[in-house]
Each structure stands twice: as C-alpha cells, then as structure tokens.
C-alpha cells in the first residue's frame, strides 16, 4: 500500500471516530482538526449526517456566542490558517473586504488589479488573522488563540466551526463566557468558520 493511501486510511478511521462520537470534548475537536488537515476530510464527509445544522447567526452555529470581528461581519469565514475569506465565494479577501491575488494586491472579481482614482494600481493592504489579530485589536485581548473546533453540515458541505479562545471571563456578547472547545484555561470569546468544500 502506498504511504499516501495508508495515511488516508488512518485519517479516515480517525475522522469517522470523531464524527460518530457523541462527546463534545475539546480534545476531540483538536484531533478532528488534525485529521481533517491530513486527510482532506474525505472521511468526515461520509460520517456526518447529511442534514443542515440549525443556525444561530450563521449556518452550523447553534450556540449563542457571537461571531468574531471580520471584514464581512457577522460572517467570519476563514481559511485554514485563520485569514479572512469572502463569505459567499470563499476567495481570499483583505481586511477591507477586497479580493486579493496571491501577492496580497487588491483585485476585482476577475482577478484584475484594482486602480485608485489616480489610475495607479492600489497597493496591498493588511490581511490578518481573524482571531489572533482582529479580535485581539478590536477587543484588547492579548491572549486570544484559535483552539477548539467542531463540524456541521452546511449548504451540502462540511463546515468546521472554530472557537477563538481567551482567558477572558466575558465573551464577545458581553456576558459570561463558556469553556466550549477551548483548553488551557481559555474560554470561547467568539466563533469563526471554515468551509471544507467536502460534501456531506
């Protein structure tokens, strides 16, 4: 068996376990995230029930903690590294909400460089992580970390819901925070999501 297939099979077993599990312990979320990253999550797709998860403020999020600040609030869609994506089409965007090319330069929907009112191409602006940069700066939290996650079926694909965690006893809503899938004494401050693109 080629090493790649073996890795996929291991990931499949691990991911299936995760999806079938009825516990919601945060370490499973961490395992799930690792498995998904390794295997591309194909096995999770087979294990998660193909029903739409009930939404609170975005699909898949059934708890009350609010979304993290983002370029398209409240839709805090992120890529695998926690950087913002356009909530509709999943293309990379900068902090202003503009589409960006791989070099970070702002582009239009067709990939052409945007120009300013003087006709010159617009330079790249900041594109930073929703939890570690946005939440930290907007809410003055120096200890925020992307930690726990869980999975739901949304729009026919697996959605990974991700907690942005802090030691703060208050969450973004202003009331008491919950431990959720956070660890190391941290609690859920706000939530983000990553669409895997894998059917469910």
């Amino acid at each position: 068996m080629p090493p790649r297939d073996a890795l996929d099979r291991s990931a499949e077993r691990l991911s299936a376990k995760l999806a079938e599990s009825t516990t919601r312990r945060s370490f499973l979320g961490r395992l799930g995230a690792a498995a998904l990253a390794v295997a591309g999550g194909s096995a999770v797709a087979a294990a998660v029930k193909p029903d739409e998860a009930d939404a609170f403020h975005f699909c898949g999020h059934i708890w009350t903690t609010g979304s993290c600040p983002s370029p398209y609030p409240p839709l805090s869609r992120i890529d695998r590294k926690g950087f913002p994506l356009h909530p509709k089409n999943g293309k990379p965007i900068d902090n202003l909400g503009r589409f960006v090319d791989p070099a970070g330069n702002p582009v239009d929907g067709n990939g052409n460089r945007l120009v300013g009112p003087d006709g010159d191409e617009l330079p790249a602006g900041p594109r930073t992580r929703i939890c570690e940069d946005w939440t930290r700066e907007r809410h003055g939290l120096n200890d925020v970390r992307t930690q726990g996650s869980w999975f739901r079926c949304c729009g026919g694909q697996i959605r990974k819901l991700v907690d942005c965690c802090s030691h703060s006893q208050r969450r973004i809503n202003g009331d008491a925070s919950l431990v959720g899938y956070c660890w190391g004494g941290r609690r859920v401050y706000c939530v983000m999501y990553y669409d895997t693109g894998l059917p469910c």
């Binding site: 902090n95 909400g97 300013g116 009112p117 003087d118 006709g119 602006g125 946005w134 930290r136």
Partner: protein, 433 residues
C-alpha cells in the same frame, strides 16, 4: 380647490383625469425641484450646524402642533387663482395649480411640518436625496386631489371628514416631528462635509490657497479670495507651500512658482511630493526599498537626506511636510501605521498603528494630524494630535462603494478625496474641523 377637479368643471371624466395627472406630476416635480435647490444650497453652505438647527426647528414645531407654544407660521394665506380655470386652457391651469401648491410657499400651511422639511433638506446638503424627500410633499398635495375620486366621494365631503380628524392628525404630526428632531439631533453630523470640487483628488492647502489634481490630468491652484485658477497641465499630486507648488509630472517631481507659472526645480524619477518651502520631501523607490528623502531646495549642494526607509513590498504613501515635521504612512500585509518625525529627531513617533485597519494618507497642520482609516467596508476620517494619543472621528463613510483617499489640513478645514470604487470618480470634500 378640490371642487375644481371634477368632471363638471373639467368638462368630462377624461379631462378630469388629465387635469389631475398634470396637477399631480407638476406638484411632485416642483416639490422635488425645491428639495434639489435646498440640498444644493446646503451643500454649498456647509451643513454641520444646519443639522442641529433643523433638529431644533422640528422640536419647536412639534411643540407648536401639540399646542404647547403658539406662534404664526410664515405663509401666503391665498387660494389658487380661480380665474385661471376660466381664462386658461386646462393643461395650463392644472399645471399652474400643481406648481403653485407643490412649491409650498404660495399657499396656506395648516401645520409647520413643511418648513421643518425645508430646513432638513437644507441640512441634508445633498441635492438628490433632498429632492426625493421633499417630493413626498408634492405626493401629499397630489393625493388630496386624487383621493376623493378614488373613493367615489364628493370632494368637499372628503375634506370635511378629514377636518373632523384634525385633532388626531395634529397629534400624529407632533409625534412625527419629535421623532424627526430626535433623529436629526442624534445623527452623526449628517452631511457635514461640503463638496469643494467634483472630478478632483489629492487636495493640498496652504495659507488659504487650495490645490488639487483633476481626473483629466492637470493640477489646479485656486487662490484664496477668488481670482482665476492657475492650471498646470499634465501634472498630479500637488503639494502647496506659499507661492510654490510641487507636482508629479512625466519627469518626476517639479516645483513651480505657481504665481509666475515658472518651474523652479525638477527631481527626476521620484513621486509623492510634500513641500514646505524650501524643504521638499518625496518618495524614491530603490531596488530593495522605498525611502522618503527630504531636500533643501535653497541649498544647491543638498542631495537630500533619507528620513524613512521601508522594504519595497511595503507601501509608502504621500507624505506631509509642515514646518519641521514630516508625516507618512506605511502599509503592508501585516499592519499599517501613521508616523510623524521631527526632522532633527532620530526615530519617528507612531501616531496610530493597526494590524487590522488600513491607515493612510496623513496630513499635518501645526500639531494636528488627519488620516484615513479603512476596515470592513467602512472608511473613517480621523483627526488626532502629534503630541498625544487623542483621536476623534471627523467623518465616516459606510458601505463598500465609496471610500476616502488623500487628505489635506488647514487651521480650520479638513479636506479629503472621496471616490467611488466602481467608477473611479473622485471629488474633494471639505469639513470644518
């Protein structure tokens, strides 16, 4: 007047419909034109104080409608000229009646709401929205003509029925005026900015003189107190200082004596000038870095001194130079900053830094500094001090379609380029700071 629009007076049911349609169209158009004029006037005058004045007027009017205070309204207590319908053809008198009543000034006003609407249109300072809002007054006038016919009523009976509900109408009107007053008072200085120049960008101001670039590729200098504009063709990014102006042209940065319209000095291959005569700052792009160089133009041997250096991948925008202070922005994918450096000092001072916002295009005047902040589809004009960290928001542009660009600062005014991302169309707005 309602009895006028009956089949008996008009001649037939068909002619009645024509008369009502002409009356309605003219009333709406006239009211909209009035709103357009008031909005344009507000835009020219500046509307920040007018918003509060309109709010106060709405509350006073509400008190009048509620019977708390009594005062007469400015109005012409006249009816439409009856002889028109005997002497003039139907299309003419119907249109004339519509224009007379739609304008509002030439007829009886039972409540003060019309005057509050006029004040609000002036305060809005935006012609088209003001026209849209005030056109509703014309719609109201037209409705009073059309409504009895729709119900198949005798027009006089309809008016009498309405008059019987006067108390309830006055109370509703008073409540609406209170709501308007509160909303206007709470509005974040709606329409506080004044349009200075359309189709223009990159303002620069010094001693009351204003310079800007036009979108067709010239630089215009508008002298204080009137006088003809001075135009420098094929140039952009002006920076004014006294009777000198630095512009970007095909050669690089050229400094002109704009009063005699003669070039003074050219620095080839550079951009983004900032002039505080005789000091000229500009941005030079090297192989691996971008630098801001400051040069004394009265010293022929001065090749300039590098005052700021960043990696080439980092954006260095248009700097601002006033006295011995230099301000500029840096913007990268990781963060952006507004920095100020006293020319004698070694290190710059960070006025603002953000990992999530794009901070750009600062301008200095004395110890005050203004810059643009953009994030999540919103654009802010921030004003702060180079001495402390106090910052306030002067203007805010919601929505992703429009944003602020370059700025200029004088003792009393803040100028900013506002542009539309979809069209690239730009204009310069001024706000009292």
């Amino acid at each position: 007047m309602l009895e006028t629009f009956t089949p008996a007076v008009c001649g037939s049911r068909k002619r009645q419909i024509v008369a009502q349609a002409l009356f309605a169209a003219t009333a709406v158009a006239t009211a909209a034109t009035l709103g357009l004029a008031l909005g344009a006037l507000g835009s020219a005058l500046g509307a920040r104080q007018a918003v509060l004045a309109a709010a106060g007027l709405a509350l006073i009017a509400a008190a009048r409608e509620a019977g708390i205070v009594r005062f007469p309204l400015p109005q012409a207590r006249r009816q439409v000229p009856e002889r028109w319908r005997f002497e003039l053809p139907l299309p003419v008198w119907a249109t004339g009646y519509g224009a007379g009543l739609g304008a509002g000034f030439f007829t009886y006003q039972p409540v003060s709401t019309f005057w509050v609407a006029c004040a609000a249109a002036l305060a809005l300072g935006r012609p088209l929205p003001a026209a849209l809002c005030l056109s509703l007054y014309g719609v109201g006038r037209a409705a009073m003509v059309v409504w009895p016919r729709r119900r198949g009523d005798d027009p006089t009976a309809a008016v009498e029925r309405l008059a019987g509900r006067r108390g309830a109408l006055l109370r509703a009107n008073a409540a609406t005026l209170v709501a308007c007053g509160v909303l206007l008072a709470l509005a974040p200085a709606a329409g506080g900015a004044v349009m200075v120049q359309g189709g223009a960008l990159d303002p620069s101001v010094d001693r009351g003189n204003l310079a800007f670039a036009t979108q067709d590729g010239s630089v215009v200098i508008r002298p204080l107190g009137g006088g003809p504009d001075v135009v420098i063709p094929d140039a952009r990014e002006p920076s004014l200082s006294g009777n000198h102006v630095a512009v970007v042209d095909g050669a690089g940065v050229t400094v002109w004596d704009w009063q005699s319209e003669t070039p003074v000095e050219t620095v080839p291959g550079v951009s983004h000038p900032a002039l505080a005569w005789p000091l000229l700052a500009y941005v030079r792009v090297d192989s691996s870095s971008r630098v801001i160089v400051v040069r004394n133009l009265e010293n022929p041997g001065d090749q300039g001194q590098v005052r700021a250096r960043v990696k080439r991948s980092v954006d260095l925008g248009r700097p601002s130079l006033r006295g011995n202070r230099l301000a500029w922005h840096t913007a990268s994918r990781r963060s952006s900053s507004i920095l100020v450096k006293t020319l004698g000092a070694k290190a710059p001072r960070v006025v603002a830094r953000s990992r999530i916002s794009l901070l750009a295009n600062p301008s200095l005047a004395g110890s005050r500094i203004v810059w643009v902040e953009q994030r999540s589809g919103k654009s802010y004009l921030r004003v702060g001090s180079v001495r402390n960290r106090k910052v306030r928001t002067l203007e805010r542009l919601p929505g992703r379609g429009r944003t602020y660009w370059t700025t200029a600062l004088s003792a009393d005014w803040v100028y900013a380029t506002r542009w539309r991302l979809a069209t690239g169309g730009a204009s310069i707005l001024g706000t009292r700071r």
